[in-house]
Symmetry: C2
Subunit: 372 residues, 2 copies
Amino acid sequence: MSIFEITTKDSGSSARCGLLETAGGTVTTPVFMPVGTRGSVKGLLPETIKQTGSQIVLANTYHLLIRPGVDAVEKLGGLHKLMAWDGPILTDSGGYQVFSLSTLNRVGDDGVEFASHVDGSKIYMDAKIATEVQNRLGADIIMCFDECAPYPCEAADLRKAVDRTIRWAGQCKEAHGNDKQLLFGIVQGGVDLELRKECAEKLIEMDFDGYAIGGLSVGEGHENMITVADFTAPLLPENKPRYLMGVGMPADIIAAVRAGVDMFDCVLPTRNGRNGFAFTDNGPLKMRNSKNSEDRRAVDEKCDCYCCKNFSRGAIRHFFNVGEMLGPILISIHNITFYQKLMHTIREKIENNTFSEWAAEMIAGDKYNTVK
Amino acid sequence: MSIFEITTKDSGSSARCGLLETAGGTVTTPVFMPVGTRGSVKGLLPETIKQTGSQIVLANTYHLLIRPGVDAVEKLGGLHKLMAWDGPILTDSGGYQVFSLSTLNRVGDDGVEFASHVDGSKIYMDAKIATEVQNRLGADIIMCFDECAPYPCEAADLRKAVDRTIRWAGQCKEAHGNDKQLLFGIVQGGVDLELRKECAEKLIEMDFDGYAIGGLSVGEGHENMITVADFTAPLLPENKPRYLMGVGMPADIIAAVRAGVDMFDCVLPTRNGRNGFAFTDNGPLKMRNSKNSEDRRAVDEKCDCYCCKNFSRGAIRHFFNVGEMLGPILISIHNITFYQKLMHTIREKIENNTFSEWAAEMIAGDKYNTVK
């Protein structure tokens, strides 16, 4: 039985709506996953995350491995219990963070030895360990351990990263020991389309439950990112979910959906929320700006999120100005809701077969390019 | 028509249950008010505050006067709008903070000139201004501008503070220009019972809507505090609400209710919550303690608050350990709920006429003396 069912296809593009079945529940795609790095979507109660329209959340294996540790998570009843989130969860493999956050001691074809960014303690990670750790954390979707190359990257290094990513993917599949969890492969290859193709083909031979496009949003820019997504998505099996990791701005998401991508995660709504940067249909709003001080309007007068239904711009500006947690909390709620409403609109447009025209307009226009 | 109706009297003590009518709604007493100093009960959405069983919240005039300023609050639609709190609100007068937080430039019999603790700007405050500011902030209950003497205090200084408090109370009553707001007088006098009596009598002559006992919880200790509350409460009109400001620990509240006090506020549940200190019926729990790391139990297994229904001690310990906002938020929810359940129990015991025996046991025992 298939875990992914395409319910509608857009006639003017590769966009599609689907249902993704996981042990933790069914997700309607295209879907956006808020990021709960250390087991918490920063500042939000699980019931509040639900209120934003979120269906599935992401947590980071690397961070959870370091603190509180996989033993603790397991003893506390698994990741769903830790987070008090009864919907689906996806964990990344830790690969991205090992290469971006930690001090690398030794990178070999078999695995990586690194020093924790918290206390410098030495940790060894390979495909088998990354998979076992995720098996034990207990998310509904887990990811293969991969090497995410930086941008720009020497050709030889990129080649090596892709080779390792492919080899490790096979080891992950072999090690995967929790049949309640879906395992996704990750296509690497930077902005080298030939490498992307080779990596995709090798992974498809291994037959994963879904496929991710990794290694983007690392500085390559919007154009490169879209070129890679446009090229890579159609290489992936039509009947499997496709996930563009760490992307991104609303216009990026629309462009990737058009290319046939189904799943997204990004820290932007929460990170920007904490910094007082609100997404709105009329462009960005910087909440700390003193021009908001006496403004009685909601952040977005057409928005029905908890923040916009209850608080004025002036009140929120005050909370940011005096350092009250409520400011970051409210704008995180608003921004995640903004993203979930965007995904709702995307699904609606696909279902009404009006997606392609709308997408072209949105990608070209200012409305969803709030931070150009 | 009376704004305060006593619904039940305890036969074994001065404790009573009542209904306090305010423009923002009716409050059942004895009542505990969580503190929202700068317009936010730290870390909690208004809907979450409601879920804790809170009926009325407190905000601090001094802090709001400095930021965002009374003009801004007024332009944003008043304090209820700023806080998005549709229930009753009480503002203190700022007196306590002027004397404890700011740098005093000049204290005279007419008023006080002080430097803001935020930017050092000079502010002049007197009874008329404090009342007008509170009239404009728009809380449902406002307080007279008073001088809160430190502890210990020279007899001459205490005398002077009481004289000023009485004089200023008259000026506040005269200045009070918002008939939707109840105005409470504040009895000062430190631990000098004669001064307390004199102050109470003078204020009663002025006929306020309610009376507060101020100047306690400033270092005089539990015994002194209870002695003053026991002495002062019965001096106040039976048919008016009595409010013990800034108190306190659960056992203090029980003792003061026994003396006939109806209203309380205190930062303990939220401040301790942020510090990872949870109130429970079995004594305090320090959430940061590593012994909680793998503990699957709720903070209080008998508690039905959002925190205890959803999160393990181990998860909360992790959130504190890694610095996630969720830790302080969850324990603040739990602690406020703990206080509100205590008030509920107090009201129930008074209504069942079993309060005095229970109170004696609780005050003597460990259960509600969690931080002795």
